[in-house]
Symmetry: C2
Subunit: 430 residues, 2 copies
């Protein structure tokens, strides 16, 4: 596979300030091989005209439960515990491997359409999610969600290890396996310590939820006289590369601990707002030097997989929460959705910027729309005006997954139908 | 003109709970003439297949300064007063009538593309804005922005009256002229009293900004020992149909006053967040029975004219601000963007719902996208998953303005180019 994009505006995301090149970009195999003049010996099988288009690194959705797309639009505008206990969990217990595959395929179709080339996921039936990743050509860090500190969970620790040997670095290296203790309130201390040891033995990352809600903080304090962050640290989790979702209800001390332990925080504004959990202290965490990435959370709590919305929300909401229009500038929000996500997932040497030698994970934005005019500031327009549908083409690992809004690696009509049938069958079954 | 939409799912927005019909809808001239079986004597010139599509009332953007699209992406992530005094106002002083026309055409293109069929605007060179409305087929309530209580503003009062006689009910009734005192901090008491009298004499509405920022509240209190709401009330403005933008920093007493005087409030979450002004007390205002509509504000402070974003923000942000996932449910947010907007603008007898006998202002949403699957709840999916680009066709006053994403009443390429040239010329001129 060799691919040439001619005369595009490239936002590399390599530096602390926006840097643009107007240049040709060449891909050979799965890597970016040049930016600039086309070498004499480069023969492109596919050419794309980049005029009026902007190339960005593929977006990285660093926290999701993608198969939950099957449950979206089913239970909205409800209190969190009614949503979870009365509506979502009874359905989750009915989910089969085939359902998870159907939901994953639906979500991958939506993610590619909105410019996501990598996602991090925590759920169950991970074999089926990995299969969907393999088939569709997207990139993912997958982890088995580990919940409830009860005997049968021991098996799931084994499952996590098996997943590692079966899938880590599979699909030409697009799949990485991490380990996924669900949250402080669903994992006891011995269990977390075992998980930390497995992560250390396999040299993999830990994907976890921390301090999502006030109730969680109160519950953990009443059990351990610690904050959720302190509790997870004291179980040794942070001795591994850790990426922690939400971190909404963190104290100044928690922020210091997260920073000192190089924990990456996945900000999920859509979900945090929708559940009424409030505003993560993003500016404070940035000031402390924490690597903050962005995620959609599961589509049942969002209800989409649209990273343009999360980027926009991040730039907007923190300005209001901080009473300051200079909080979280546009470019900072875009870094969270690209290179910072790659850092969280431990793949920043391979993806997250548009750099010669890195894997070719790129998206192409069509700037020829009224909302991008007048053309005065590309970064501002991408964060404050763009829609996911402005992504016209998506390349992951050197392969075109979408070209001119046509998905190339899956049958979209069938994928949508299959998910619809699976969801309705599950909901209607006793 | 007669138009038939066959077999569509219609969300009428007529009731307090979502009501759907799957039916045919017929348009004759500029009105909806039937919903249901096609009468024998109805001959459609144009037919649209409504399968897998949802019909909604056209969205109503009830607060904007659309010509400011020329200034967007030019000054972001800055403190409000730096933005206004150092960046925006020096440019605004250079704007010509031709610039305003170019910016208005650009914004109307974007608004039609995102399903807006009516907008309310406050700005200057209103003749040029009205001309753009007339040509493009959209609907608008226009008002001359009246700022600074200084002698030469008297002329602008005359200008407002002249605009009324020239444009009110022009373009087949699509244009209404209201009067637009800018804000409490830019209009003194005598001036506001004169404006109130003109509104009464002409029987038109008053479009105003109130209590947008903390600084405004402090300034008005130091001058008059009143809140901005009390001040505007005491100048007699509320004796007219009044629609007030922002109302972010309102007290419980202010909310009572707004409710008792039937003042409509235009909520502008995108702009309020971006400038760090915070969260309007939407739930409290709803509880008090205030008619709340939605607006994008000017595109230089948003930076788009995407009502799907404002609807989504309204449903999300208030849940977090209220610490309650049941605040501002999806359907409530959608009412704000449709029938409530029509009420604010005094045109709810003509538009704002899909009702036989009303003007045919409709949008058609293509639900055949991955983010709408599984199809479990249309309202939820429209508010929490939809993008503006899901609007496939737009009808205003019985006329197709967009069909299958093609704009029919303006030359989009030319409009984008003209705006780009005008903005750059203005910025580069001394």
């Amino acid at each position: 596979m060799s691919l040439l994009i001619k005369n595009a505006t490239i936002l590399t995301m390599e530096s602390d300030e926006p840097e643009f090149l107007v240049a040709n970009l060449g891909i050979q195999g799965n890597r970016i091989v040049f930016i600039g003049d086309v070498p004499d010996n480069f023969k492109a099988v596919t050419e794309i005209d980049g005029t009026d288009k902007v190339i960005l690194p593929g977006l990285i959705n660093s926290h999701s439960h993608i198969a939950m797309s099957l449950l979206r639009h089913y239970a909205d505008d409800l209190p969190f515990w009614t949503w979870l206990n009365d509506r979502i969990m009874p359905l989750e217990h009915k989910l089969t491997g085939a359902d998870i595959y159907a939901g994953s395929m639906l979500s991958i179709a939506e993610m590619i359409r909105s410019g996501i080339t990598t996602f991090a996921d925590m759920y169950f039936f991970v074999d089926e999610i990995a299969q969907a990743v393999k088939e569709t050509g997207i990139r993912a860090n997958l982890s088995r969600g580990l919940v409830f500190n009860i005997p049968e969970d021991i098996e799931k620790l084994d499952e996590s290890v098996e997943l590692f040997y079966k899938w880590n670095n599979a699909a030409d290296g697009r799949i990485k396996i991490d380990i996924g203790p669900h949250a402080p309130y669903t994992c006891g201390p011995d269990y977390l310590k075992k998980i930390s040891k497995i992560a250390k033995d396999l040299d993999i990352g830990v994907h976890i939820h921390i301090s999502e809600s006030r109730r969680e903080v109160e519950e953990i304090y009443s059990l351990y006289k610690k904050s959720p962050v302190e509790y997870v640290r004291d179980c040794g989790i942070f001795e591994n590369r850790t990426y922690a979702a939400h971190c909404v209800k963190v104290t100044d001390d928690d922020i210091k601990i997260l920073a000192n332990n190089n924990v990456s925080v996945m900000n999920n504004p859509g979900s945090n707002l929708k559940f009424g959990n409030g505003f993560a202290p993003v500016s404070k965490m940035l000031d402390a030097g924490i690597n903050i990435s962005l995620g959609t959370d599961g589509p049942a709590s969002n209800n989409n997989l649209n990273m343009f919305e999360e980027i926009n929300l991040t730039a907007l909401v923190n300005k209001a929460a901080d009473h300051s229009p200079t909080s979280v500038p546009a470019y900072t929000a875009l870094k969270m959705a690209t290179i910072n996500g790659a850092k969280a997932l431990g793949i920043d040497n391979e993806v997250g910027t548009v750099t010669v030698g890195k894997k070719a994970d790129l998206i192409i934005i069509d700037m020829n729309k009224p909302h991008f005019y007048p053309k005065l500031n590309i970064v501002s327009s991408l964060i404050y005006s763009a829609q996911a549908s402005d992504v016209c083409s998506v390349i992951c690992d050197g392969r075109l997954l979408m070209r001119d809004r046509q998905l190339l690696t899956l049958d979209e009509v069938k994928v949508c139908e299959n998910a619809d049938v699976a969801a309705k069958k599950m909901i209607n079954s006793k």
